[in-house]
């Protein structure tokens, strides 16, 4: 790979360099998407969930992605989180070209680079909070004592030390989402992704979770949150609006 100093920092100028240079250059941004398409085949019809999306996210940013239901927010988040692969386009995370990765390399990115928080928590129902948080460390190949230590620290960061041995069905919605956030952060990922993290929570609990995100951002974490609630989007530093699979607006709030 070529030197990182060759890289172009913003999407707009990157496109001006033309195909060849863009391919060769390693973007300096933490996340760099270039003309990303996601197309689903529905019978004989092609559904374009994403129509050529390009944007960068720098280290330490706090980005909200908003848009109406069905506009492609989740599709985009799943691509950023390497849970899904684009139909077309280039995607770089932390200097690594994801579009060229095989299954095992993608698993490693999901394990090390990305922390994903889902609307429906997605915790293992039969495992304790502690074990759920340990899960990414197991796949990182960490020893069990080290794993325990780090998982406990991560649960302490979301103030759940006293609920460590509880199973998900013994926890409230807000507590479950905090376990999921502890799990997302335990391996110190480059970026925290949250797809409608407060969608299943009441207003009060939603504010608690958003306060937690703010704290995590102030500690230096890079965060992307998908939401359709304007007051939640208003707490981010940058808002990307999506409509019909395209970026409609990309504005900096502060």
């Amino acid at each position: 790979m070529s030197d990182a100093t060759l890289a172009t920092p913003t999407g707009a100028s990157a496109l001006e360099h033309g195909e060849v240079l863009v391919r060769d250059a390693v973007p300096a941004a933490l996340i760099s998407m270039r003309d990303i398409w996601k197309t689903y085949q529905m019978g004989s019809e092609e559904v374009h969930a994403l129509h050529g999306v390009s944007f960068d996210v720098q280290k330490g940013e706090y980005v909200a992605i908003i848009g109406p239901s069905g506009s492609g927010k989740s599709t985009l988040m799943n691509l950023i989180g390497c849970l899904d692969t684009p139909s077309k386009g280039e995607y770089w995370i932390n200097g690594k070209n994801v579009s060229e990765m095989d299954d095992d390399e993608l698993a490693r990115i999901r394990n090390k680079e990305v922390g994903f928080v889902f609307q429906t928590f997605n915790l293992l129902a039969r495992a304790t909070a502690l074990h759920n948080v340990e899960l990414p460390l197991i796949y990182a190949g960490m020893s069990s004592t080290e794993r325990h230590e780090k998982a406990k620290q991560s649960l302490a960061a979301v103030e759940l030390t006293d609920r460590m041995m509880h199973k998900p069905n013994e926890l409230s919605g807000g507590q479950r989402q905090r376990v999921a956030i502890a799990r997302a952060l335990v391996n110190h990922p480059s970026i925290l992704l949250a797809d409608e993290p407060t969608g299943a929570l009441d207003t009060h609990t939603s504010y608690e979770i958003m306060n937690l995100f703010e704290k995590l951002h102030s500690e230096g974490n890079t965060i992307i949150v998908v939401t359709h609630e304007p007051d939640i989007a208003a707490r981010a530093y940058r808002v990307i609006s999506i409509r019909d699979g395209m970026i409609e607006k990309d504005e900096r709030l502060r």
Partner: protein, 338 residues
């Protein structure tokens, strides 16, 4: 069912045995015996009616490698005089003389009085049957009291011992030739007697147990196939039920290899538990067979190893496809699964 020829065979005689002893060069000893299936023995108020009565010669000890423990064996003098002496086996001695030394006591065998002159060494069990429930008398004395008893109640055998194992074949050929001559079998006619060796008895035993083992192996193979398909079904259901769990694991960084080995380990655990259960059942069955049937049975270590190994292998073989299905699931599809 015995053939007609076998039923009307001319009996072997002591003269046949003498001819064999004189002429067969490959033999070290010849022991004709007369055997009565059971006899009633009495000493004072004690009685037993199960022992086998054997009329034997002085050669018996050497040919059978069964010796008197103390006292003496049948002598040439006993043969000559057709004397009423006997040598009981240990079972008989225990039954009639629980507290006394049997030597020099007089006992009744089927109503006739005999002097106990010796005691047979203990021989133990064969196929669950005691070989010590016997009483020996001189074969001449036997013929004195039971001259015309028909078979199978009374039977006559000639047991011969070759010089060594290497002479078994030539000894059998010689004995066959001598007996054909003694019994005037014309050339070309089939033998009207049977010569068998311990080796051929062993062969029959090995064939029987070998055939049983083959059938059991086939049955267990079918059972393993059925069990394996059952395991595969359980694992497929498990993979489907846990699609979401697989999605979660993949979302936090599990590789295909991680998921594959997780489900393989589960399948192997399942079949290994089955293997251990089978071992317990097998061990108990073998203990019961040993205790309550004449067949000797035990579970050797290699069988335990093979049993557990094959159980685990069944888990791997039949768990492979479900585990591979699980490993190949698309993370986002798996997470969306309801």
């Amino acid at each position: 069912m015995p053939k007609a020829e076998e039923l009307h065979r001319k009996e072997l005689t002591i003269a046949d045995a003498d001819a064999i002893r004189r002429e067969a060069a490959s033999l070290a000893g010849v022991s004709p015996i007369h055997r009565l299936i059971s006899a009633t023995l009495r000493y004072e108020d004690k009685q037993t009616d199960t022992p086998v009565l054997i009329g034997a010669t002085p050669y018996y000890e050497f040919v059978h490698s069964q010796y008197v423990d103390h006292g003496r064996w049948i002598s040439d003098g006993d043969m000559e005089a057709r004397s009423n002496i006997c040598i009981p086996g240990v079972d008989v001695a225990h039954a009639l003389f629980p507290y006394e030394d049997p030597l020099d006591k007089d006992i009744k065998i089927n109503g006739n009085t005999y002097r106990v002159v010796g005691l047979m060494e203990p021989l133990g069990n064969f196929f669950g049957q005691s070989r010590d429930n016997t009483v020996f008398i001189p074969i001449t004395t036997y013929d004195k009291y039971y001259p015309d008893l028909p078979s199978p109640e009374s039977a006559f055998f000639i047991i011969a011992r070759p010089i060594s194992r290497a002479y078994v074949k030539s000894a059998m050929d010689e004995v066959t030739e001598i007996l054909r001559r003694q019994r005037r079998v014309r050339p070309g006619d089939t033998d009207n007697f049977a010569v068998t060796s311990q080796d051929s008895l062993l062969d029959i035993y090995n064939q029987l147990t070998g055939a049983t083992a083959l059938v059991l192996t086939a049955v267990s193979f079918v059972a393993l196939m059925i069990g394996g398909i059952g395991v595969m079904n359980i694992m497929l259901v498990s993979v489907t039920e846990r699609t979401r769990e697989i999605g979660i694991r993949k979302a936090v960084g599990a590789t295909r290899g991680n998921i594959l080995s997780q489900f393989l380990v589960e399948a192997v655990c399942l079949t290994a538990i089955g293997g251990v259960a089978g071992l317990i059942v097998g061990e108990v069955a073998s203990l019961l067979v040993n205790k309550y049937s004449p067949l000797p049975a035990f579970v050797p270590l290699w069988a335990i190893a093979i049993g557990l190994g094959i159980s685990a292998a069944v888990g791997i073989i039949f768990g492979l496809w479900p585990a591979w299905k699980a490993a190949r699931l698309d993370p986002i599809e798996a997470l969306r699964y309801e």
